[in-house]
């Protein structure tokens, strides 16, 4: 049985070299080439590769963030990072026993990494993305719409609101549902989002004003958002303080 491999690298020549090396090995099949992180994510959904060779430095969404989204897929590929030079990331990979290859890649090393990747996969990757020492703050939120994945840029997100089961992501182009604990989002984006209610996180940069309603409740109005959001009593002081700081 052949192993299905996806190549993700923003440089065409780097991709074609990797493809050539893989074609020289018999038991591997290249199912596609992605030129960016988001392309890699889409192709992982549609092509379901077993392994992805993922360049760290790519425009838009880099390899490490891409890996983070991949690790949330139920049946995501094993990840092998590739890099020309990135001492900081390599330290992290070593400490989590994550596969990586240094470019230019040798064929033997590629072969060994691929064989190794088949055995291990997700636990290590999850350990890396959840490592508090190496925080990976995402620049996109990944939402599933039917069979495809959609990346929502963080700067477009107005607020997160938790329902019973899912979290609604309200952004400039509409709404999506994601399945992540609000607490985790709060921790990850603490520098850009603020908790205004037990179930709501609001992007500070979209806050327009806070008002007191006749019945003594506080509400927050966001730019580009017709509906105000209720601020719970215990968050009022903190919200006031951070609005003041922003202005």
């Amino acid at each position: 049985m052949t192993t299905r491999v996806l190549i993700a690298d923003d440089e065409a020549l780097a991709r074609s070299r990797m493809r050539r090396l893989l074609e020289e090995l018999t038991e591997y099949e290249v199912i596609g080439e992605a030129a960016s992180g988001s392309e890699a994510l889409q192709m992982s959904m549609s092509g379901s590769p077993d392994v992805i060779l993922l360049d760290i430095r790519m425009p838009g969404m880099g390899g490490i963030e891409t890996a983070r989204h991949l690790s949330a897929l139920d049946d995501g590929p094993a990840v092998i990072f590739t890099t020309a030079f990135d001492s900081y990331a390599i330290e992290a990979f070593d400490s989590h026993a994550i596969g990586y290859l240094l470019k230019p890649v040798r064929r033997e090393k590629l072969e060994r990494a691929l064989r190794f990747a088949a055995q291990l996969a997700h636990p290590q990757l999850e350990a890396l993305v959840n490592d508090p020492e190496q925080p990976v703050t995402r620049s996109n939120i990944c939402a599933r719409r039917g069979e495809s994945l959609h990346l929502i840029p963080l700067e477009d997100i107005l607020y997160f609101q938790a329902d019973q089961k899912y979290i609604t992501v309200r952004h400039r182009l509409g709404e999506d549902l994601i399945d992540e604990p609000l607490k985790e989002l709060d921790r990850e984006f603490a520098d850009q989002f603020i908790r205004i209610h037990r179930n709501t996180l609001v992007a500070m940069k979209w806050i327009e004003r806070m008002e007191k309603t006749p019945d003594g409740q506080y509400e927050i109005w966001l730019r580009d958002c017709a509906e105000p959001l209720p601020v719970s009593r215990r968050h009022v002081t903190a919200v006031k303080a951070s609005i003041k700081k922003c202005i």
Partner: protein
């Protein structure tokens, strides 16, 4: 400090006494006085340290001298007072542990104090200066190393070449030649001056390498007007600016990134600038970039003195570094 005080006491006593029989009692007396004075001065200066730091060297020195004089006066007065109160009046003058002549005792102590403080300050000043020189030399050397071509670029180029050897041997050959030229330039003495023509050439060679790797994603627009080709410029001044622009302003962009290089002569000055688009999100910290710029600034200053300059301008969408230096042929 205690060691200095004790040694001074020995020296003073040796100079003063002519017989060994008197030496030890005199030494005990002198060092008692000196050690106490020194410790008090040290403690006072330690307390004043944060305030002294705010003054210039001259101001801090004057303040130190004042503190020393006040402390010596106080200590001498206390000792004199103890001496007159507790010593037995019938002791012979030479054996006395405490001073007899009030004014002579006080004034001689102050003079000795001033001389010793002067010596000590001078010593600390010189050794500090030396320390600073060593540090700044080390810093310059590190900067020079870091300003050399990025490892990131080297290994990506090697990867490009590895692929080209199979698919396009001719291009691979050119790439190897280009890379050799670049490394020859970066291994040369970083303070060497080359002609502007040479520097423009090496920058173009570098651009070729990156063009090979990034393809259509990289667009470099050159606009050079009336540059004196023979003018001198520190080697690798313009190239690192293009390298920074590509690393920070082209690679992180999903599609085409444009770098504009402008050069012109105005009177006796040459102006070069490199301008790139800013990606929405910062890809990496600016630290590496700062070091490279600092290094270019240092080398320009070394070559042309204060008439050369380097400046940065950042707005919402663009980042620009400009250098100016006089024509020197």
């Amino acid at each position: 400090m205690v060691l200095i005080a004790t040694l001074t006491a020995i020296a003073l006593t040796l100079a003063r006494q002519t017989e060994w029989s008197l030496f030890f009692s005199d030494l005990a007396r002198t060092s008692l006085l000196l050690v106490w004075t020194t410790l008090t001065i040290t403690a006072t200066l330690c307390l004043l340290r944060s305030r002294l730091n705010r003054f210039s060297v001259a101001g801090a020195s004057i303040l130190t001298f004042t503190a020393v004089i006040i402390v010596i006066t106080a200590v001498s007065e206390i000792i004199y007072w103890i001496g007159t109160t507790y010593s037995s009046p019938n002791m012979p003058v030479t054996y006395s542990w405490f001073p007899q002549n009030h004014w002579y005792f006080l004034s001689s102590n102050i003079v000795v104090g001033i001389i010793m403080t002067g010596l000590a300050l001078r010593y600390f000043y010189v050794s500090h200066q030396r320390q600073r020189n060593i540090e700044s030399e080390a810093r310059t050397r590190i900067h020079a190393l870091q300003a050399r071509i990025r490892p990131h670029f080297l290994f990506n180029s090697m990867n490009t070449i590895a692929e080209l050897t199979r698919t396009n041997p001719k291009a691979a050959e050119i790439a190897v030649e280009n890379l050799s030229d670049l490394f020859r330039a970066s291994l040369a003495d970083s303070h060497k001056l080359v002609s502007l023509a040479q520097e423009l050439e090496i920058t173009r060679v570098y651009q070729d390498m990156e063009q090979q790797r990034l393809g259509e994603r990289l667009v470099v627009k050159w606009q050079l007007n009336g540059l004196p080709q023979q003018a001198r410029i520190p080697s690798l001044t313009l190239q690192p600016l293009l390298e920074n622009a590509i690393y920070h302003g082209v690679e992180p962009l999903p599609d085409v990134g444009v770098v504009e290089i402008e050069g012109r002569r105005k009177g006796n000055m040459i102006y070069l600038s490199v301008r790139n688009q800013l990606p929405i999100r910062k890809y990496q910290s600016e630290a590496g970039n700062q070091i490279a710029l600092e290094n270019i600034r240092e080398r320009l200053e070394l070559a042309f003195g204060s008439s050369a300059s380097l400046s940065r301008a950042i707005d919402q969408t663009h980042y620009q570094v400009s250098i100016a230096f006089p024509v020197k042929e």
